[in-house]
């Protein structure tokens, strides 16, 4: 079974440009999460989808960040325009529907974003 996959693995852009990160969760996982880790700091929650609906987006830093999950399958996270402080590793995670959920989140390998 394929795990959570993220693309790209690494993106280098200049301040002011736009970047779109993609996450493909494990098939059948209704819950999809975005987290990020800024250098040297803890992994922080960004938002949570249940299927195509945003359940909780309290961690989104500002309106330069836009997450979508059309059709409830893969998700994209767009940063526009990117700023220097957006550099870090963006992790996507997924988990099964609640009734079968043991609490474990399955993480992808992350997309490293470097803003110059």
């Amino acid at each position: 079974e394929a795990g959570v996959t993220q693309f790209p693995s690494h993106s280098v852009i200049e301040k002011g440009q736009t970047v779109t990160l993609r996450c493909d969760p494990i098939s059948g996982h209704d819950n999809l999460y975005w987290y990020r880790r800024v250098m040297g700091k803890e992994i922080k929650f960004l938002l949570h989808f249940v299927k195509e609906s945003k359940q909780d987006e309290s961690g989104m830093p500002n309106n330069r960040f836009l997450a979508e999950r059309t059709g409830g399958t893969y998700s994209t996270l767009k940063v526009q325009p990117a700023e220097l402080e957006d550099s870090g590793v963006y992790f996507c995670a997924s988990s099964p529907p609640r009734l079968t959920n043991t609490g474990e989140l399955f993480f992808g390998e992350g997309s490293r974003l470097t803003v110059l």
Binding site: Y35, K41, I43, S95, G103, L105, F107, G110
Partner: protein, 115 residues
Amino acid sequence: GESVGLHLPTLSVQEGDNSIINCAYSNSASDYFIWYKQESGKGPQFIIDIRSNMDKRQGQRVTVLLNKTVKHLSLQIAATQPGDSAVYFCAETRQSGGSNYKLTFGKGTLLTVNP
């Protein structure tokens, strides 16, 4: 792979020794705790979890201890191996609040196992 921040707590042990990694959590309402392992260039990987109605849980070579009185969590790794070298994160959440596993992560501890 992802580099480790200069401010990350570190633990260096000899192969074969036991390791203890500690974590202090902040939310007294948290009722579910997880330890994750992150190897360089990879995402966090689930190791073991514990619910707040327990104070100890054992897995294969790993044991998690929970002290709710002082809001402290620890991960014990027996007979540490070079493959255990990674950054270890504790995470907490409140399942009963319907947060559906919105995790709050600790800063992480870098474990280095010397052969």
